[in-house]
């Protein structure tokens, strides 16, 4: 058996169609594949590599999220102990909001093994497509919802705001998979310090099952506690207004606003 090495790959949000070619090759050539994906995703993986096994049972064996994630890492490292090429596959982008993916890379490296993370299509990539947004236009802030609530950040209302893992909001003991309505209300109140109560957010869920459509449910901040959040829900808040040009910064370089050449994106943003 060849020396142990680890590839951490992402299968994208829509099983099958979102697999990149390089990921397909890595999976096909792997000695072992361990995956955190849904049923259809696992079926796709098994067609590429019949040895693919699911790590979903880590959630059942362990009482809380911490123990489940540790169990995933333990299983991936145990597979590496047997030598050969191990592929750890996570749905979406494996490096985006996935604790065990980064942790298994750290632990593999600490053992002196080769380990590499490959990109995949994330939920945010799907959001940009399904809501037809370009993050270059206003900029984009992206946070884990509960972390955003607990550790206040400077909110820039001229940029978009994306909050992930809404279903874990209020999961104090890290062992539930359902948002706590009291926390949703509290989060909305925090947001309403910067945005008007009638500011309309979108509860977004990319379609993962063929023939399904994405969920794009508009909801005002004042009524945020009335919507239901699933584990796939991401909350999107559009910017309030366009950012302001800094005459001061231009002046540092001896320029004024009129010196800036025309840019279609700026006209569109300021309309």
């Amino acid at each position: 058996m060849a020396a142990a090495r680890l590839s951490v790959v992402g299968t994208g949000i829509r099983p099958g169609g979102h697999l990149t070619l390089e990921t397909r090759h890595l999976l096909a050539g792997a000695d072992r594949v361990l995956a955190v994906v849904d049923g259809l995703g696992l079926e796709h993986l098994r067609r590429i590599n019949p040895a693919a096994e699911s790590l979903q049972d880590c959630y059942r064996q362990s009482p809380g999220r911490e123990a489940s994630y540790a169990e995933m890492v333990r299983r991936i490292l145990a597979a590496l102990d047997r030598g050969g090429h191990v592929c750890a596959a996570f749905y979406g982008h494996p490096g985006v909001f996935v604790w065990p993916a980064h942790e298994c890379i750290r632990q593999a490296r600490a053992r002196g093994l080769e380990a590499r993370l490959y990109p995949g299509i994330s939920a945010e990539d799907c959001l940009f497509a399904d809501l037809e947004l370009d993050p270059a236009l206003h900029g984009c802030q992206s946070y884990e919802a509960m972390d955003f609530f607990l550790y206040p950040r400077l909110i820039d209302t001229s940029a978009a705001l994306v909050l992930w893992q809404m279903a874990a909001l209020g999961d104090v003991r890290r062992d539930r998979f359902e948002a706590d309505p009291a926390w949703v209300r509290a989060l909305a109140e925090v947001l309403m310090a910067d945005y008007p109560a009638e500011h309309v957010a979108t509860v977004y869920e990319a379609a993962t099952f063929p023939l399904s459509e994405p969920r794009r449910e508009p909801i005002s901040l004042a009524r945020l506690h009335q919507v239901s959040f699933s584990q796939a829900s991401t909350l999107y808040l559009p910017p309030l207004a366009a950012p302001r040009l800094s005459e001061q910064r231009l002046a540092r370089l001896g320029l004024v606003a009129e010196d800036l050449g025309p840019a279609a994106y700026r006209r569109y943003r300021d309309r």
């Binding site: 099958g16 955190v36 049923g39 259809l40 079926e43 979903q56 992930w164 023939l211």
Partner: protein, 67 residues
Amino acid sequence: MSENTKKMLLALSEDPNLVSEYKQDPKTVMDRFGVPAEHQELIGQGDKEGLQKAAGLDDEMCRLIIF
């Protein structure tokens, strides 16, 4: 559970052209894949959970939170 139903779902999740064709004429696509009549009925009713079960792809316990 039907292997043919599963095959069609796998193909649909890979190929947007097939999705377009399906939206125009679902019956022809389902017949081509040999999807059994009872599954065609589930699909017609938009019963996603029923269809997942029928294809042997039960996601009831699937978790998506990994951070």
